[in-house]
């Protein structure tokens, strides 16, 4: 029966991990805007549109970074 104590401790550590993940996500600003990320994911990567077409150099290879407030 006393294995329950170990299970409870393991359980709280796992759940605590998720809690920390949530706290990180909130502080990171991921809950500030619930609309645009869903739309944004549908846009094509601006780094590589049609390969034949010549686009201004400045946009080439520029990776899209996710929102962050840092």
């Amino acid at each position: 029966m006393s294995v329950i104590i170990i299970l409870v401790i393991v359980g709280i550590i796992v759940a605590g991990g998720f809690l920390l993940g949530f706290i990180w996500a909130v502080r990171n600003g991921q809950y500030d805007d619930m609309y645009s990320p869903g739309v944004r994911v549908l846009f094509e990567d601006p780094g590589k549109p049609d390969p034949e077409e010549q686009i201004p150099d400045s946009t080439k290879g520029k990776e899209k970074t996710t929102i962050s407030d840092k």
Binding site: S2, I4, I5, V8, G11, I12, A15, G16, F18, L19, F22, I23, V26, R27, G29, Y31, D32, D33, M34, Y35, S36, V39, R40, L42, F43, P46, P49, E53, I55, P56, S58, T59, K62, K64, T65, I67, D69
Partner: protein, 793 residues
Amino acid sequence: MGAPCVHCGEDCGSHPVIWDDKPFCCHGCSTVYQILNQNKLDKYYEIQPMAGIKVDRVESGNKYAYLDNEEIAGKLLTFSDGNIHVVNLFVPTIHCASCIWLLENLHTLDAGVIQSSVNFPRKQVSITFNSDEITLRQLVELLVSIHYVPEITLDQLDKKDTLNSSRSLLLKIGIAGFSFMNVMLYNFPEYLPGGDQLGNLFTGFFGFMSFILALPVVFYGANDYYLSAVKGLKHKIVNIDVPITLGIFTLFLQSTYEIVTLQGIGYMDSLIGLVFFLLIGKWYQGKTYQALSFERNYKSYFPVAVSLVTENGEESIPLSNLKQGDRMIIRNQELIPADATLLSGKANIDYSFVTGESIPVEKKEGAMIFAGGRQVGSAIELEVVNKVEQSYLTQLWNQDKSGKKTDNKLTTVVDNVSHYFTIIILSIATFAGIYWLINDPSLALFAFTSVLIIACPCALALTVPFTFGSTMRVFGRAGFYLKNTGVIENLRKTDAIVFDKTGTITLSRSMDIGFVGEELTPKERLMVKALASQSSHPLSVSIKDSIAGQPEWEVENYQEIPSLGITGIVDGVRINLGSKKFVTGKTDEDANASHVYCFIDNRIAGHFRIANSYRKGLPEVINELQKKHELYLLSGDNESERENLLPVFGHNDRLKFNQSPQDKMDFITKLKSEGKRVMMIGDGLNDAGALMESDVGLTIADDIYSFSPACDGIIESKKFNKLPDFFHFSGLAMRVVVISFIISFLYNVVGLYFAVQGNLSPIIAAILMPISSVTVVAFATLSIEHLSKKSKL
């Protein structure tokens, strides 16, 4: 009717601007299309067809010159490191997926932009840029060139983000939820048959874990409730947070005692559950309209900077640095930020912000011009008499603010109920305690705390957030946006409604225009439009808007004679538009409606009669509201409309004309001192004082994201006819609250039945508390949804 504009979707009329074989309504729209096309950003039109924004007037080139001023730029930037800067700009016109896509691809348009991201609900774009390649001014002008005009006001310069409060609420919910789930698990064995035989090891261990997990919830998660309770008690109000605080602490102390003495594992699950539900309620209620601003003051209206005449020529300085004696230049359509005297130039001041009257007033050199006026016409030079904070207009506003604070808001129903609730619960607890003290002293303290524990007004506290929170969403869907849920209750309580006239019950833009005299041919009408388009005078604009089609002539020899009229040659024909004196030479003025005489093709064809046009459904709205409310009308205009309005309103003495902003405010104060609960409906700065003074101030707006004075609610102008429905619905919502109260009282009676007998066990608390909360929440939200469908809101 022409084809819809490829850029903005508006009707192009009979002469669209053609570019790339596509129709556009105006040159502005086609220019944006060209910019996007050249930069391979035409996908903009694929994501959301006709996503563009139409901008009527392209501002003069120097408008954003002030952004070159380091002090102002520094205030706008949120982050700077070397030549890398981050700026957050509020762009009210962000509305769809295309907007997000384009604004986040700004780096394609200019290499200086490193990264940009959109916060959709706040309608903000955060741009990281390299100042070696693009200055802040160029960046803003780039946004303007694609018709995403950012709104930069003094207000934004001064205050920083309020994001943190909503984030901390989310954190609290997360922590409370985490603790709730775990503690429920620990307490569950206790509730099963034979749970009391777990033995000291498990009871002690589970109790200890519950205690640890409860600590962050009690001392971090719920701290807002303690603060609010203390604040309420300081003002001698027993608000709902007082019994909540009482309940939380009794639960915590009683449970800690039981855990420490190994009697059991206490009520920690109920305690944490209570806090968790309360926080959820708060979150539901607090989800407000982030992009709308209800707290604007004069700073939102005033420009950020002014152009000064100095020894070194013209210079742009921040408004806060403006001193007495400075000489400033105000151009066409710019706002005068401080009281000043006119030094040179032709001043034609449009005081519509201050008085509601949109027809400009002519001023002579040396005349005093008050802050808040807008110059129409050529640039003028002024000498500052009073600093910005001391001008007549800002004084009026500041005065209100101090007045409002001493004046208590209407007490809310939940505060009233909780006042009696607390007293009753405390007396029941005391009686139960005394009873057991006489009969069985060992149970006395337990009975006392049990009553406080079980009567904790969780369900009571959740009723209002969920009922009014849902109501607010229903209203929001219907085009009526409230500052907070408290407004719903006040809405129902009002018994007097004061309307502003111009812009509130009349349409601010479109006028009722008729032509009296010979009928003009279609070609002549277009020629008149061509001439009228040259002037920015409100009457010219009205005439221009009333004539359909797109004239294709240039106007030659155009001349504008202030306060008389305009003249010019269109397609070889001289046309004069203006006052009777100007066109006909006769001087007998008729003061009533505005008449614009028209001289065309060597004859006086007749005159345009321009009158206010009232909002659709006005008589119905007034009739409906009149049943339960006293209605008043305040107008800054002259008496000319009295005869038209009298049949609608009925009472002659309730129509007041020639009211200054101060008069309006005093009128509201007078009504309030008569014991009335006053609602004010207005639209402009001239109503700002009255809106603040009233119990409920509503603003009516064509575009809810643009200028609106500080208020409690914003109503979309096309939903004006729904106003009585909103009143009716707030009454229904109130009824739902009352029924929910009754439900939660019934649960309390059951709980108290156990508590006074001194046999409240953790399991009863653990069952009763969540059930009562869930019932109340479900009842409140579902009935509001049902009612909204029934009343078609």
